[in-house]
């Protein structure tokens, strides 16, 4: 199996600036630069991770452990301070539901806009359009403005677009918590189907039951470092043991 995601010694530091006002900066200079105007903290430190094509990986850890930041490096939204991140093929993510949806546009317009944002060509969207609408169960509301949608409808349409982008790597960040049970089941079935077709899955979630159903491998992050890498059961065991 070829490598799908290769992360080597990744470092990411965030600068927390306390102020951006010129007045406070001047006062700070006058006081002889006492104290720090900014505080740095490491979101990720020396993270190395290789994921083969077709693997299903759960990124686990407590809030603030760096899971979402790692996902953002895989999708290219953030760039590493040190180290490298390399991927093979197209990435699509459900990083947050409906990012790229515009409330004042109809569902139809949003399918085109969001599909295109996620990297689909015009032809691909036209080919997949009926299938997207069918999967989303939006039906006749597809020509209604999205701001009139319920949160469930919103999620279903967003998920439907994302799974039809035909990515090689699929990133899922804590989205399946929304939506009713039948739709969750449908999503899980679709995700399994994608995986059987050889797609790589990287899932961030606190829902251990869901993670156990979808993923084989589990990686635990703690304060920006990988502390455990094995089967998903081992990872969950590690977290539960605290």
């Amino acid at each position: 199996m070829p490598v799908s995601i290769d992360i080597d010694n990744l470092d990411k530091r965030f600068v927390m600036r306390h102020t951006r006002s010129i007045k406070e900066s001047v006062l700070w200079l006058l006081k002889g630069r006492r104290g720090d105007l900014s505080r740095k903290f490491s979101a990720l430190e020396g993270v190395s991770l290789t994921i083969q094509q077709g693997e299903t990986v759960a990124l686990l850890g407590f809030n603030g452990s760096g899971k979402s930041t790692l996902l953002k490096h895989i999708s290219g939204v953030m760039l590493p301070d040190a180290g490298t991140v390399r991927i093979r093929g197209r990435v699509a993510g459900l990083i947050e539901v409906g990012a790229g949806f515009h409330p004042d546009l109809s569902g139809r317009d949003n399918v085109f806009l969001n599909g295109s944002i996620l990297g689909m060509t015009e032809k691909e969207i036209r080919q997949q359009f009926d299938s997207i609408v069918e999967f989303s169960e939006i039906g006749e509301f597809i020509d209604t403005e999205v701001r009139f949608y319920s949160s469930g409808m919103y999620l279903r349409l967003a998920f439907a677009v994302a799974v039809h982008t035909d990515p090689d790597i699929f990133l899922i960040d804590e989205i399946l918590a929304v939506g009713d049970e039948p739709f969750q089941k449908k999503c899980l079935a679709k995700i399994k189907e994608l995986n059987e077709a050889g797609k790589t899955l990287v899932v961030v979630s606190h829902d251990f039951d869901m993670v156990r159903k979808v993923c084989e491998r589990g990686v635990v992050l703690e304060h920006g470092r990988i502390v455990q890498d094995g089967t998903v059961s081992e990872a969950i065991g590690h977290l539960r043991a605290g």
Partner: protein
């Protein structure tokens, strides 16, 4: 680890680092997305307003009337029997400059805010971020069209018969201004992520822009009041070149005797204007790609 570092190199073929853009070239590759973003902006802009797209006509019309009365009549820029030193056909003179400056103002102002406005998306999904300033410029170009139609109709009513050279110069003049707006839009759009002062600075810049080019008065006044050297500096401003190109194309054919173009305008100054604008685009591109890596964490 499931793979040792030794096998890493063998499998590395086809691996790419995500999040590294090829700048404006990526925008060309994402034409369909650009079109969708522009369509969205056009649809959303006047949503819920009664006059809708008519606002694109009403605003410049009111602005024109105010300037015409205040400057043309009160301050005596319009030529008349009592005021032979004024500009003939001042209404056309004024309007041909105003439409171009309006385009520039809207384009730069929206492009400078485009990255922060689309922050929600930029933080979550990777896509060529240059798309946002470029689509802002494009939208302004579409709003510019109805004003162009009014200008052409007004010109035709006053006996407009332009030459091919004049029309070509106008196209070039528009291009110079559009490129300048794109370059500055990339610069201030990127800087605005780090310092929100940028958008206020742009507002100030745009206020100056109207007066730093011969929109309301004639370029000869700069020469007569400030001298030749000042005129050279004045002509280095690509906006001056754009506005004079529009005067050359739309106003001069309708006015019998005019002060003419600045010396060696077509042979020297138009090419210089184009070069300056292209340099600004290159600078904008460079600065934007240096700053965009940290957009997601700064927004």
């Amino acid at each position: 680890m499931t793979a040792g570092s030794s096998s890493r190199d063998d499998d590395a073929v086809g691996l790419v680092s995500p999040g590294h853009s090829a700048g404006l070239r990526d925008v060309v590759g994402s034409r369909f997305l650009l079109k969708l973003l522009v369509d969205k902006e056009i649809k959303v802009r006047y949503r819920g307003s009664v006059l809708g797209l008519l606002w694109s006509y009403v605003k410049p019309a009111v602005q024109f009337v105010v300037f015409y009365i205040a400057l043309g009549i009160f301050l005596g820029l319009e030529q008349s029997e009592r005021n032979p030193a004024g500009l003939p056909n001042y209404a056309i003179y004024l309007f041909s400059g105003i439409v171009l400056i309006n385009f520039f103002t809207e384009a730069l102002s929206n492009a400078s805010r485009s990255i922060v406005t689309n922050g929600g998306l930029i933080k979550k999904i990777y896509l060529p971020r240059q798309l946002f300033p470029v689509s802002a410029i494009w939208v302004s170009g579409i709003h510019f069209l109805p004003q162009m139609v009014i200008l052409v109709v007004a010109c035709l009513l006053t006996g407009w018969t332009p030459s091919v050279l004049q029309l070509g110069t106008a196209v070039l003049g528009f291009l110079i201004v559009a490129l300048l707006a794109t370059g500055l839009g990339l610069i201030f759009g990127a800087v605005n992520v780090y310092f929100r002062d940028a958008e206020n600075f742009v507002d100030m810049l745009l206020m100056v822009a109207t007066w730093a080019s011969p929109v309301l008065y004639a370029w000869t006044m700069v020469r007569d009041q400030l001298g030749q050297t000042a005129l050279q500096i004045y002509l280095l401003n690509p906006l001056t070149i754009g506005v004079e190109s529009f005067h050359f194309a739309f106003w001069m054919p309708t006015a019998e005797q005019t002060q003419g173009l600045p010396p060696s305008f077509l042979s020297v100054w138009v090419p210089i204007g184009l070069v300056v604008s292209i340099l600004v685009v290159l600078l904008g591109q460079l600065l934007f790609s240096r700053l965009e890596g940290r957009f997601a964490q700064e927004l």
